[in-house]
């Protein structure tokens, strides 16, 4: 239980800090001399104040150990599988890093395989192949069929002469 309380306290703190940051940033928004009565700073300031208030309330309830802060599914054992989480995260990150060089199909294959592995699959080659097929199908349907230019990859471009 203490670990949960700390988490909520952090959330409260984060909200307060975000709110303050938002407020400060808002003061730096350019306001033009033109006729603008209630300008672009108003709403951000209101939201910032709101965030700070909510943050303080969250902090308060976390520290006071109120019912709300403790209302978590305590009756269920919470298992945490951080390696799986990181593997799932690796999927989109790898996509981000490779889509322009390897093309959509290959990047999709990596994405698919990482997420699949994170969810328990132990057949990486099958996953990669399946991901590649799905990615290629999408590439064909969307690029060829609908004209939505998805990168086929710089390597492929070089290979087929563009």
């Amino acid at each position: 239980m203490p670990r949960r309380l700390n988490a909520h306290a952090f959330v409260g703190l984060a909200l307060v800090l975000t709110g303050i940051g938002l407020f400060l940033n808002a003061q730096r928004i350019d306001v033009s001399p033109a006729v603008v009565l209630l300008g672009p700073r108003l709403f951000p300031s209101i939201v910032a104040v709101g965030l700070v208030l909510l943050g303080l309330l969250t902090l308060a309830s976390a520290l006071a150990g109120s019912r709300e802060a403790r209302a978590d599914p305590a009756d269920r054992t919470v298992e945490n599988d951080w390696p799986a989480f990181l593997m799932a995260l690796a999927g989109p990150v790898l996509f981000l890093l490779t889509v322009e060089t390897l093309g959509f199909a290959a990047a999709a294959a990596l994405l698919f395989a990482c997420v699949a592995r994170a969810f328990g699959s132990r057949r990486p080659l099958v996953d990669l192949a399946l991901g590649l097929v799905i990615g290629a199908l999408i590439l064909i349907v969307f690029s060829y069929g609908l004209g939505l230019a998805l990168p086929a990859g710089a390597l492929l471009d070089a290979w087929t002469g563009g």
Binding site: H8, P73, V115, S121
Partner: protein, 500 residues
């Protein structure tokens, strides 16, 4: 305007084999698009525009109309089965729909969604046929002050979506509003919170955030919780369809949802999401057992799903009668009209009556087709849950990425997707509700724009909000709603312990 006669004429156009085929193509494609997160009717129609150079206008619009309707049918499927809304119009459906699926009542949820969509679609289309010009006149009465008041009502309605912990719900809401601040300020053209990144100047789109929070966030979170993954999803327990009780509890929400959705679609800046929030609130207030909401109340699925379908019919009203697009999909359809050199407007009904009435008739037929596609195939859709989880989520990840990256090929978008996805996973982990983030993202910017516009036009006179009849009335409604919500909370009805 002889409605029945014109309608009969329209059916003659719509019932030709070619047009029936196009209708089928449209609704099927639409359903598929609706299911895929991130890819919506607006983008699809835009991509199909070149294709339509080759076929005649009536057929093209039969496809587009069917596509738009179909998307609203399809979007509920994944909302209910895997807690991932296919369109922003079915975000609210995830709240109770997914809970129903987890309790083994997935088929009933899908059924009430499909039938409700059908009922609302038919009602909406008929209203379109009969009342179009009158509805537009009413819609145009809404000025910025009135819109703002409407936003306030929507905010008040949102209180029902906040979940069991009001504090956490509000935090999510404010996070959404804060995210909505990123981008160029519409009224003054100044950049806000873009940190010098050019791509952020248009803000973080609702679709991007929704896909990130729901699809990516859900995937990341579930990956980290093997215990939740192991939960047995029993898709069909007991009656594989809707029980008598389900019917009894659904039919009124269907009608109410249709009544709420249609006008919102017709309102410029209305959209298909707002009516779902309002419908949820209405259903919760009128239900016999409001505590069930959030745990699998069928009314919470029936109402909103009907609302988003009626909203689509509503969108067509100003588009066809005034050439006024009230949603991004409508704007693309308008562009399509212009490709053909047709200018929708008050004269369209007389100058191109075959097209308009053919389209309306075909939408009615399309609704029937969609009912068939979605209802008996319920068993088929439910099988989605039987795809091995690794592949299911792998597939969701790829399609989500397509939806985000495919449109703009922007790596900034992908980075934002990852960042917001992480936020979504964290929110889930700490038991913060997700839906209010999207609500804040949509309502925040809208309310700011309308408020400042109203004040700008009145040159600083804040009394407009009270003196304009529509605005004044709506603000009173909002105040009553909030008062009611607070009273209920203090009486203890709201303090239900949080559920996992």
């Amino acid at each position: 305007m002889d409605v029945l006669g014109n309608l009969a004429h329209g059916f003659a156009v719509a019932l030709t084999p070619t047009n029936l085929m196009w209708s089928l193509v449209g609704v099927t494609l639409g359903t598929a698009i609706g299911i895929l997160p991130g890819i919506g009717p607006a983008l699809t129609i835009a991509l199909l525009l070149p294709v339509t150079y080759k076929i005649d206008p009536t057929s093209a619009f039969i496809i587009f109309g069917g596509l738009y309707y179909g998307a609203m049918y399809g979007c509920s499927t994944t909302s209910i089965l895997i807690n991932t809304p296919g369109e922003t119009g079915s975000i609210v459906t995830t709240i109770d729909g997914n809970k129903m699926a987890r309790a083994g009542r997935g088929a009933a949820a899908l059924a009430t969604s499909a039938i409700g969509s059908f009922v609302a679609g038919i009602i909406g289309t008929l209203l379109l046929a009969a009342l179009a010009p009158e509805v537009v006149k009413l819609a145009l009465l809404f000025g910025p002050a009135d819109y703002f008041a409407l936003m306030v009502v929507a905010f008040a309605a949102v209180s029902s979506l906040l979940g069991s912990s009001v504090l956490r719900g509000l935090v999510s809401l404010f996070i959404g509003i804060a995210v909505g601040l990123v981008g160029i300020d519409q009224q003054t053209g100044q950049s806000r919170f873009t940190f010098g990144v050019l791509e952020l100047q248009d803000g973080l789109g609702v679709v991007l955030v929704a896909v990130a929070l729901f699809a990516v966030g859900e995937a990341l979170y579930l990956a980290s919780r093997p215990d939740l993954r192991r939960e047995e999803l029993v898709p069909v327990k007991g009656r594989a369809f809707m029980t008598r009780e389900d019917w009894a509890r659904s039919w009124r929400p269907w009608l109410r949802g249709a009544a709420i959705g249609f006008p919102f679609g017709a309102l410029p800046a209305g959209g298909t999401e707002l009516p779902t929030f309002i419908s949820y609130k209405v259903e919760k207030s009128l239900a016999r057992n409001p505590d069930e909401f959030g745990k699998g109340a069928i009314e919470g699925v029936a109402g909103p799903e009907a609302a988003n379908n009626a909203a689509v019919a509503g969108v067509l009203v100003p588009l066809l009668t005034f050439g006024l697009p009230t949603s991004s999909t409508a704007a693309i359809m308008l562009a399509a009209f212009q490709q053909y050199g047709i200018q929708p407007g008050p004269l369209l009904f007389t100058s191109n009556s075959a097209l308009v009435w053919g389209l309306i008739a075909s939408l009615l037929i399309g609704n029937a087709m969609l009912l068939v596609l979605n209802l008996p195939l319920v068993g088929l859709w439910v099988r989605l849950l039987f795809i091995p989880q690794p592949w299911l989520y792998g597939g969701i990840a790829v399609f989500a990425m397509l939806g985000v990256y495919g449109i703009n090929r922007s790596l900034v978008d992908v980075a934002a997707l990852i960042a917001i996805g992480l936020l979504g996973a964290m929110l889930r982990r700490l038991d913060y509700p997700i839906a209010p983030v999207i609500v804040g993202l949509i309502l925040g910017p809208m309310s700011e724009i309308q408020f400042r516009r109203a004040v700008q036009i009145s040159q600083g006179d804040l009394s407009v909000f009270a003196t304009r009849p529509i605005s004044g009335t709506l603000l009173v409604v909002a105040a009553l709603m909030l008062a009611g919500a607070m009273a209920a909370h203090w009486r203890g009805r709201g303090t239900v312990p949080a559920q996992g």
